[in-house]
């Protein structure tokens, strides 16, 4: 049961967003920029969602890991095995050298920003990452340390219903995060 009187029947972060629309607005906007509109050929929305799911898995946040994992899978042609491989061990997952190097940075940010070493940044640059891509990786990982704590710290309802997450991930992948919160399907 949630710690505070959140709207009923809304899963995860959507309940917090409905409880407090004022703070929801910038949080949604930040996610929209980082995950949806900043995607390029070199650092796609799929890869950004993979980093979000990976950091959420390290923070053991079921709602965020599953929903962003579903968004990444939708952007990967519906194939869920990639996000599973990344969360299990990104070093052996079938991702580009660059994404692997960015995941290594995200891995340290999840623990403490000070653990990002010059060597990790140099590895990312050697594999083709730009300063903007390194910046966005650090901020995606940092932002999910916020989103995950918000979702879990309020003890939101996080249904174990894989169909719901597949639908949610599809909607997130296609429409992004800037629209008004929607009730769970």
């Amino acid at each position: 049961m949630p710690h505070i009187a959140l709207p009923e029947d809304m899963p995860g972060i959507t309940a917090g967003f409905a409880f407090c629309p004022d703070t929801a607005k910038p949080m949604r906007e930040l996610a929209h920029i980082l995950l949806h509109t900043s995607g390029t050929d070199g650092f796609s929305s799929r890869d950004r969602e993979l980093i979000a799911a990976f950091v959420s898995s390290r923070n053991t946040c079921y709602f965020c890991q599953t929903s962003h994992g579903a968004a990444a899978s939708h952007l990967n042609g519906g194939d869920q095995t990639l996000v599973e491989a990344v969360c299990r061990d990104y070093r052996t997952a079938p991702v580009s050298e660059k994404l692997c190097a960015l995941l290594a940075i995200a891995e340290q940010v999840q623990i403490d920003g000070k653990r990002v070493t010059s060597q990790l940044v140099e590895n990312a640059r050697q594999s083709g990452a730009t300063d903007f891509e390194i910046h966005d990786t650090v901020l995606i990982a940092a932002a999910f340390c916020m989103f995950n704590r918000y979702v879990d710290g309020l003890a939101t309802v996080q249904p174990r219903n894989s169909e719901m997450y597949v639908e949610m991930g599809k909607r997130m992948a296609e429409k992004g995060y800037a629209a008004a919160p929607q009730p769970a399907p």
Copy 2:
């Protein structure tokens, strides 16, 4: 030295904000709502800045701890001993029972949102905290887990210059966070 080519002579988060104004906007807006405009008699900006400084101290983020500590001190009549006492051991610091209970929630969110227990929330409620105050406490603590990682993960310049932080804290306390980033004084 910062990991990426941040604007020179800008300390801490101001360099990240100048590097990427698109993401700076919602991050500043979130801080402005949580720390500056949501303050009430029962949960003032001073208390919100104290929680921000406390969480930043647990994340050992020098820039955020010192700047938000300076903001809290400015809102406390210039007395720095309160924020020092809270960061040292909030349980023995001269704060209200309610703020002590909210700090206990923030303490757990900093580690993992799932560590917030029903008992901690009940303690806060017994000491007079509303659902909105509990919500904002969780989100302030979660948000500083983002801000701290952003500041440290980019290896921003964090000067050891106490006068600079006193000035910065005064400006933050008086004007909030919504304005355009300003160069360091």
